[in-house]
């Protein structure tokens, strides 16, 4: 009885693991095959990887999209970490009743669906375009600004600040450091893992963001990777091998971040609900 139970346990988990991994394998294998072979369901690696890549480079502006995505994601991540960690620290260390109320109001923003925000935001940036074209529609700034501050990340930093030893804070004050100095020179280096986890979460969601960039980025020069992949996939006579290599390239940054910092990522996700 116990043995057959073990067997089904492993069987079930193996099926779940195969189902989870299979689309990845297929996408990688397909990126090395000719379009016809992909449709024929060939599951063995082919020799067309470089040819597919060449076609992708010739028909799209891949480097530009990669650069756009990288610029937006890195800027968003750095700004988001700074803003959210300052706020999370501020709410926890300088705790007061009125701040708690404001904090709870901020948390409500997590319930607001983006669908309700996109039209007003689009109009807001349309109006900004008339005054400051450099931060209006079709600019990096317009993608970054609405997504850079999330109540989730502030909440995440506040929760972690609870674990920050208060003696360090007192020691810093005794040494005559300013409050900002304590934050920058004591808090920031001590909370490295929290920053790492926050960085992964923010980078991933920024790199993968689709709907808002789809609305606000309108010229080919500002296209990001998800937008490029989406337009490749919507053609009538798609070149499957070429599309697959585009998807593989678009997935590498987040997959890399995930594998290098897996521990922090899982810790970050878990820390967020404790």
């Amino acid at each position: 009885m116990a043995k057959s139970k073990r067997f089904f346990m492993y069987l079930f988990l193996s099926i779940a693991a195969i189902v989870s991994i299979f689309p990845f394998l297929w996408m990688v294998v397909s990126s090395t095959n000719k379009s016809v072979d992909v449709t024929r369901g060939r599951l063995l690696p082919g020799t067309h990887l470089l040819e597919n890549l060449r076609k992708l480079l010739d028909t799209t502006d891949l480097q530009l999209s990669l650069m756009n995505s990288a610029k937006i994601s890195i800027t968003t991540t750095l700004l988001a970490l700074l803003i959210a960690s300052l706020a999370g620290y501020g709410f926890e260390v300088f705790r007061s009743r009125s701040k708690d109320i404001v904090f709870n109001i901020l948390l409500l923003s997590m319930m607001i669906p983006f669908a309700a925000l996109m039209i007003p935001l689009y109009r807001m940036f349309g109006q900004i375009s008339n005054v400051f074209p450099w931060m209006g529609i079709d600019t990096m700034t317009s993608v970054i600004l609405p997504t850079v501050t999330t109540a989730f990340l502030i909440f995440f930093f506040r929760q972690s600040t609870k674990m920050f030893p208060k003696e360090l804070l007192e020691a810093g004050r005794m040494d005559g450091l300013s409050e900002l100095g304590i934050f920058l020179r004591i808090y920031l280096p001590t909370m490295k893992t929290t920053y790492a986890a926050g960085a992964i979460i923010t980078f991933m969601s920024s790199w993968n963001n689709y709907l808002w960039p789809l609305i606000v980025l309108q010229t080919p020069q500002t296209k990001t990777m998800p937008l490029l992949i989406s337009t490749l996939g919507s053609g009538y006579a798609p070149d499957y091998g070429m599309i697959m290599i585009a998807i593989v390239i678009g997935t590498i940054p987040t997959a890399l971040v995930f594998f290098v910092m897996q521990k922090q990522f899982v810790a970050g996700m878990i820390g967020s609900v404790k």
Partner: protein
């Protein structure tokens, strides 16, 4: 007197410093969440194309009730919600309980493998799924070879199967994500509780429903609320797998809002009204979920 004065000054200073730490975040959230939210509410009472808008009271709201496309979109969204969210939560719970077994080998491999889909962008995996499930795609080829079906299934072009495809896709992407939350919560449960239950002769299923589920209730509530909010806003997958078709068979509310604003003649007012329907649904469903979970917690 002098002392209280300087104490007061110190306190005011510390209050000001505290506020200066949180100020930027507070401003940004008000400008990019709460202000647009208010704007959307005002817009929802206006009609017109582009920026030529006039107030028309509740016209948009009464239009909602007779708008067939809207009703179909709501229906589709709720089908996804009612089928996919429970399916995913049960699957994630089941997997995490298996992975929590202390004698299980290759734990790290299974966990990483099942969590892997979370690294893909919604657009990238949607495009992959579109091809996997196309008429002559790999899924049909395999089903035919294994003689599980006699004719290829019209995954993308049949209204019923297209919905199933979307549900399979979202489940693939998000089960591992939810599993991580349960796994961490399970690790916090004291093993002695299970041992005591085992000594009392409780079966595995009794232990699951008697200990695991009640202790995990707060996390289950959290994941069901976030999944509900996510499903009500479903956009990327449907846009990239089926484009909402065939007909409007897979169209979601978010996609309808997008179409109203950026595809058809831009009717921002009515689109805002439709978007407020999601706000109301999220508020209602979260309230219900809190109530249901809260009552039993006592």
């Amino acid at each position: 007197m002098h002392q209280t004065n300087s104490k007061l000054r110190f306190r005011t200073k510390s209050v000001l410093t505290g506020w200066s730490f949180v100020l930027l975040a507070v401003i940004l959230i008000f400008v990019f969440y709460f202000y647009p939210m208010l704007q959307a509410l005002i817009l929802s009472f206006q009609t017109g194309t582009g920026s030529n808008l006039t107030f028309t009271g509740f016209d948009n709201y009464s239009r909602l009730l007779s708008d067939k496309t809207f009703i179909v979109s709501v229906k589709n969204t709720f089908i996804y919600l009612l089928v996919q969210v429970p399916l995913m939560i049960i699957l994630a719970l089941f997997i995490s309980v298996l992975l929590n077994d202390s004698k299980l080998r290759f734990k790290g491999f299974f966990r990483t493998a099942i969590f892997l889909p979370c690294v893909t962008s919604l657009v990238a995996y949607s495009v992959v799924f579109k091809y996997l499930f196309s008429g002559n795609g790999l899924v049909n080829t395999m089903l035919l070879k294994l003689h599980l079906v006699s004719a290829p299934i019209e995954w993308i072009t049949d209204p019923f199967w297209a919905k199933i495809t979307i549900i399979i896709a979202i489940t693939w992407r998000w089960t591992g994500y939810n599993m991580i939350f349960y796994l961490s919560a399970l690790q916090n449960i004291d093993h002695s509780i299970y041992e005591a239950a085992r000594i009392d002769g409780a079966s595995a299923s009794r232990q699951f429903f008697g200990i695991t589920v009640p202790l995990l209730k707060p996390i289950i509530l959290f994941t069901s609320i976030t999944s509900t909010i996510g499903t009500l806003q479903l956009f990327d997958e449907v846009m990239n797998i089926t484009k909402g078709g065939p007909g409007n068979a897979t169209q979601t509310i978010s996609q309808y809002i997008y179409n109203l604003s950026f595809k058809y003649a831009a009717d921002f007012g009515y689109a805002a009204t439709v978007s407020y329907s999601i706000v109301i649904m999220i508020a209602l469903l979260s309230f219900i979920q809190f109530k249901v979970a809260g009552d039993k917690n006592g």
